[in-house]
């Protein structure tokens, strides 16, 4: 795995530190005179090292600009135009958005605050970056140490919206102005003037000077005392307190540097007021520090190493195929279980069917033919004595009808469906006056004795003849009745 290295550049040279799991270890220090060749040699000796350059140089410029709220594309063009208007004559310039604000007093429209930061003396940085370029080892990023003040702000409890933050590093004493937790201004006093016992006196003087400057810039309100947070080891707090007394304008507050470093996750022991280990640790953990170097000088972050990409691709392919194959194999297992269950059940059904077939006796006739013949015989059976019984009942009816005689009878049994019909022809008595009542009486009597209702009105008129013509032998009237006979 590639090692992460932080390169700290100040006016005394370049320090190389290795940062790993909260541990910061300084490995090399290259002076400006012979530094670039030594850096080139170091880069050659560490082909897998990933480097981030942190510039802590005194010649810096900070400009706060207000931009109208526009779309992203216009905003980029507007920032580039303002940056050109600054005429800073350096390629090492960056900007940072400080949020949106409205000029309440002027009643103006809301605007976006942009802080431009630049290194005025590019030569101090250029030689080192040229070494990276010549070695074909672009750094991961080039940042200004002042921007780390914003990373420290969340770790300072009770930090007011507007405050000064002071720390001491190898490059000197840096004083930064934080506005709402974001960097508004920073100034580095070189180490030559901030060393030794006079360091805290320098701190006091620089704080006053910076305060006056910021008042002149209308960045600080003079009506309130400005808090000044100074990162220092507890052993220096007494000297700091005596050198930096509070005044109506400034209120100094010492911050326990080792305790702060511990809160920030640094595992190195802090034995003096040098904040460099903490700054390097914060730089290694901060992901969104403004980039100072042009894009062409930086290592592209979005492109992973081809070997890594190929390895990830191969592993992804294998993992995806494993997941899909496992899913399919699990499904196949379930299908096989279902198939086995179906086979077991079908074998059981087949065995039961065979047992039932073996236990089924054979009929002498096909079952459906037997069923049909059985139904027919069952339906016909009630009619076996139908004619005899009907004749007896008819005889009983005629006995009750004096003078009425049977002339003819036709019995018919239709087989499908079985139904019997009797057509009866009766000869009426000779007295014509009684005929209408007699016929009704005959029908009622027949119905009473045989149980059959005449299907139609009896033909009671018979043949009509001339008075002198040939009549029946006895001249008696005939009637015919159609009687459906129900089974006995």
């Amino acid at each position: 795995m590639a090692e992460r290295h932080l390169l700290y550049l100040d006016s005394t040279g370049l320090r190389i530190a290795r940062v790993h799991r909260g541990q910061v270890s300084l490995e090399n220090h290259f002076a400006p005179a012979d530094g670039p060749p030594a850096l080139a040699a170091w880069l050659q000796g560490h082909p897998g090292a990933r480097c981030t350059l942190l510039a802590d140089l005194p010649d810096e410029t900070y400009h706060l600009e207000a931009l109208p709220p526009v779309g992203p594309r216009d905003r980029r063009q507007l920032i580039a135009r303002r940056q050109a208007q600054l005429r800073l004559d350096t390629p090492y310039i960056t900007h940072q958005a400080l949020g949106r604000a409205a000029d309440a007093k002027a009643g103006g429209a809301p605007h976006d605050k942009i802080l431009f930061a630049a290194i005025n003396r590019p030569a101090a940085l250029q030689a080192w970056l040229a070494t990276f370029e010549q070695s074909r080892r672009p750094p991961d990023g080039v940042h200004m140490a002042s921007h780390l003040a914003a990373a420290l702000a969340p770790q300072l409890p009770g930090l007011p919206p507007l405050a000064l933050l002071v720390w001491v590093g190898p490059g000197g004493l840096r004083m930064s102005c934080l506005d709402g937790g974001l960097l508004r201004f920073s100034r580095l006093t070189p180490a030559s003037t901030a060393a030794g016992t006079g360091r805290w006196q320098t701190c006091h003087d620089e704080a006053r000077r910076t305060h006056q400057y910021l008042i002149g810039q209308r960045a600080i309100d003079r009506s309130h005392a400005t808090p000044v947070y100074v990162l220092a080891h507890p052993q220096d707090h007494a000297a700091l307190g005596s050198a930096c007394p509070d005044s109506a304008e400034l209120q100094f507050q010492a911050v326990d540097l080792p305790a702060l470093a511990k809160r920030c996750g640094l595992h190195n022991p802090i034995e003096d007021s040098d904040s460099l280990p903490l700054l390097l640790h914060l730089a290694s953990r901060s992901r969104h520090l403004p980039q100072l170097a042009p894009v062409v000088l930086r290592r592209p972050h979005h492109l992973p190493h081809p070997a890594t990409a190929l390895g990830v691709l191969a592993a992804s392919l294998l993992a995806a195929s494993l997941v899909i194959s496992t899913h399919k194999l699990l499904e196949a297992g379930q299908l096989r279980e279902q198939a086995d269950a179906a086979l077991t059940e079908s074998l059981g059904e087949e065995a039961r069917a065979r047992g039932l077939q073996a236990a089924t006796p054979r009929l002498p006739l096909p079952a459906d033919a037997l069923q049909a013949d059985y139904a027919r015989l069952t339906a016909l059976q009630p009619f076996r004595a139908g004619l005899t019984i009907f004749l007896h009942r008819l005889a009983d009816a005629l006995n009750a009808l004096p003078g009425v005689e049977l002339s003819a009878l036709e019995w018919t049994l239709a087989p499908d469906p079985p139904r019997a019909t009797a057509s009866v022809e009766l000869r009426l008595p000779a007295n014509p006056n009684a005929r209408p009542e007699l016929i009704q009486h005959i029908v009622a009597t027949l119905h009473h004795h045989t149980g059959s209702q005449a299907a139609s009105a009896p033909d009671q008129h018979g043949p009509l003849r001339s008075p002198g013509g040939q009549a029946d032998t006895d001249g008696r009237q005939l009637i015919r009745l159609e009687l459906p006979v129900s089974p006995p």
């Binding site: 081809p306 070997a307 390895g311 691709l313 191969a314 392919l317 995806a320 195929s321 494993l322 899909i324 496992t326 399919k328 194999l329 196949a332 297992g333 299908l335 096989r336 198939a339 086995d340 179906a342 086979l343 059940e345 079908s346 074998l347 059904e349 087949e350 039961r352 069917a353 039932l356 077939q357 089924t360 009929l363 006739l365 079952a367 459906d368 033919a369 037997l370 069923q371 049909a372 059985y374 027919r376 015989l377 016909l380 059976q381 009619f383 076996r384 004595a385 139908g386 005899t388 004749l391 005689e405 049977l406 002339s407 003819a408 009878l409 036709e410 019995w411 018919t412 049994l413 499908d416």
Partner: protein
């Protein structure tokens, strides 16, 4: 080409790993898909077999039920004597005996042979063919009165085989002549079926 060679050399192992990964993944996917397809085909085959087995079992159950029902029907028919063939000779003797006992000189009959019972359902589309057999007695002639006719319409006294069924009968009274005392006065034309269900001989 030479400029490209060093990067390719550096990427040789990752490329080999990627190639092996592609090949392995492809083989794994093909094998798992083949296993899945085989299991799916097996399930379809066994499901079809199960469907067929269920249908066979249901058909066997239906056949068993129909057979048991048929056996009960045969027992009922046997109990009613409808499986036994009528004795035509006994019928003939019965008629001769009645003719000798009663004055039936003007009566003729014909006792037909056993033949398949023709039904309206005997058309090809009307279902299974009937196995019923029938012998038809055709009576025609004159008798003195209905009382002489009734014994002819009844089953022979000692026979209980078959179904004795008057199918058609036409009776007509003749006009009595003044000088014809004692002559037959009733014309009869009747057909009587004697039906039974013959069973084939057991093999």
């Amino acid at each position: 080409m030479n400029a490209l060679a060093p990067p390719l050399v550096r990427l040789r192992r990752p490329l080999i790993a990627l190639t092996l990964s592609i090949l392995g993944s492809g083989a794994l996917l093909l094998w798992s898909q083949a296993e899945h397809d085989a299991a799916d085909a097996l399930l379809r085959q066994h499901t079809a077999r199960l469907t067929q087995a269920r249908a066979t079992h249901q058909a066997a159950r239906d056949a068993y039920t129909a057979t048991r029902n048929g056996l009960r029907q045969l027992e009922a028919l046997r109990g009613a004597g409808l499986l036994d063939a009528p004795d035509r000779q006994a019928w003939q003797q019965h008629l001769l005996k009645l003719q000798g006992k009663l004055p039936l000189d003007k009566l003729e009959w014909e006792l037909g042979p056993f033949a398949p019972a023709a039904t309206e359902a005997d058309s090809p589309s009307a279902g299974p063919p009937s196995a019923l057999r029938v012998s038809t007695l055709h009576l025609k002639g004159e008798v003195a009165h209905e009382g002489r006719l009734l014994p002819l319409l009844e089953r022979p006294g000692n026979s209980s085989n078959g179904l004795f069924l008057p199918r058609r009968c036409r009776l007509a009274h003749k006009q009595p002549a003044p000088d014809a005392a004692g002559t037959p006065a009733l014309a009869a034309d009747c057909e009587i079926d004697w039906i039974f269900l013959p069973l084939p001989d057991a093999p």
